[in-house]
Symmetry: C2
Subunit: 342 residues, 2 copies
């Protein structure tokens, strides 16, 4: 059955029932003009929105709709994590052709439901609208969350002389995309890069470890990596009005990335410029080094110190982020990360 | 200049500067992973999202981009009004081809800025993403607002035996669209339906009058009319588990609609089924009749009693909403309002 046979309002009814959840903080969920929730006393309200567009962020030829639903929720939740907050509520604005199959929609929402459950978030509202038959699907998620003002971590808090840390190994999602683009959906199970494929299709927001970093006050600035490490670090440095020096030998390279780099005799463009990792990038003072190492051990999530912050150097030809190689020379990247309009 | 020459990040920088506004409730606006605001103590947080899709909701052949920006904000604000709330913050998720002109974008944001100013709302964040060159523009707005729990008006509160009221004259936006589709942009100044054209291109949310209705407790249920009066009233009746009887002779018909109906010898399909009015539809008890009439006089916004609520009649062939004509017979509508997937 296609959406045009089901209709918008019956679909909203189905979603209203599927996602209705007794929760003392939700006064009104799906089905009214607005959702109404009770914010926690004394906390800051966090909000963010993200969009996944067909043929830009995903392709129906290789993105299973359930994973798309999971990713739609998880990439927004990742923004809350990046501020040190707790995600609470989700709204989804979906623009789809009326010819799309009901099975696509139900799988998508199955993924949404799963991810909402894993993140302890509740889908409270959204919007459904149509688009012409051949137009791309555009999926927008909105997340609301909260954080104590004293625990909130922004991009603006870094100072020179601090350490730069990342979770995970950068570029894995981009490597996964390379696998999917070369082998199609079979890459999910058979690609030499299948762990990376999983990172592209089903990223996991680092909410728990980010909350610990925030609660313990371990970071001076933080963001999630969605546009590629080089580009994201430049954004963080710019927001904090500092410079950043990364030692390329310190950058963690996943086993699959090692294989890829060896087979393709490429430089570090994929790990440094590949987007959609949704890992954490943060800065911390020397005094927090041991706590951060302990946190990595306890959580099982690798946290790696990759460099240090510096005073901003306006004369730098590469902006204010330098990648220094083993020989002491600066690495020149061909690509500076994803820009939607470039 | 096209967006692809400007780039996503420079555009975000421009927007961050344009919309940065010192406000004690905004801790973080545009430029971080999330926006962070301080919710008011003891109030419910309202949230809603709406999408305007090219060739479904608007056409670049006749929609001036500034008015599109205004509409994008105003239709979300209208959802807050419909709950009796106060709009506060806006986020925008825009999906546009990289080939779009910078002038389109700057005009769009000029409209956003105007509407934010008129509604005393602040743009605090959003997302920019690209889409293929020929794909439709998809514009999503998110609004956050607040209301005292005791003043919140939902769709679910109506009971049988109450009066049904609407603000304005229904179907004006749909008539405006008919004018635009027949005469193109010249309809804005020269169409016989130019007031209706203005209603389509530049709807005004009924925030102020809705706040008064909420503060004074005048309505038992309320919503805004976006899918057409017949469809919206059916949704309200369903949510409240009641029926509704509307006398067609009571429906306010604007002078332009009168001309249109006479020239086209049509029934009431345009006024009853035309969408995008963003007027208020509400129910009220007899005891509030005089206060409502006084409010209409004071505000200058027409409020008309068009019928009464009834017990739900499951056997009704027209769902649970009846439009009764002067001769006592039930009106059969060809069209029951807009469904995105039908």
């Amino acid at each position: 059955m296609q959406l045009k046979e089901l209709g918008e309002k019956p679909l909203i009814d189905i979603l209203g029932k599927k996602f209705s959840k007794a929760d003392p903080r939700v006064l009104k969920g799906i089905g009214d003009d607005c959702a109404a929730v009770l914010p926690a006393r004394g906390k800051a309200l966090l909000s963010s929105t993200d969009t996944l567009t067909e043929e830009v962020h995903f392709s129906l030829t290789y993105s299973p709709p359930k994973l798309l639903g999971r990713k739609l929720v998880n990439i927004s939740v990742s923004d809350i994590a990046a501020m040190g907050g707790t995600p609470l509520f989700i709204l989804l604005a979906l623009t789809m052709p009326a010819t799309i199959g009901e099975d696509f929609v139900s799988e998508l929402y199955r993924g949404v439901e799963e991810a909402c459950g894993e993140n302890a978030t509740i889908l409270i509202g959204g919007n459904l609208s149509s688009t012409a038959g051949e137009s791309p699907i555009v999926l927008t998620s909105v997340v609301l969350g909260e954080v104590s003002e004293s625990e909130m971590i922004c991009r603006t808090g870094a100072a020179p002389g601090e350490s730069i840390y990342i979770t995970g190994s950068p570029g894995e999602a981009a490597l996964g995309l390379i696998g999917l683009q070369s082998d199609g959906p079979s890459a999910i199970t058979r690609s030499p890069y299948r762990n990376s494929v999983a990172r592209h299709l089903d990223p996991k927001p680092r909410t728990k470890i980010a909350r610990t970093i925030a609660r313990k006050g371990l970071a001076t600035s933080m963001m999630d990596t969605s546009d590629g490490l080089a580009s994201d670090l430049a954004a963080l440095a710019k927001a904090s009005n500092i410079g950043a020096m990364v030692k390329t030998t310190l950058i963690p390279i996943s086993p699959e990335m090692k294989t890829y780099l060896k087979d393709n005799s490429l430089g570090l463009d994929v790990p440094l410029c590949g987007g959609e990792d949704y890992e954490l990038l943060f800065t911390a003072r020397e005094e927090n080094k041991e706590d951060i190492e302990r946190l990595a051990g306890q959580s099982g999530i690798p946290i790696t110190r990759i460099g240090t912050t510096e005073p901003r150097d306006e004369s730098s030809k590469t902006g204010n982020v330098r990648f220094i190689q083993n020989d002491g020379k600066e690495l020149e990247l061909k690509n500076k990360g994803f820009d939607h309009y470039k």
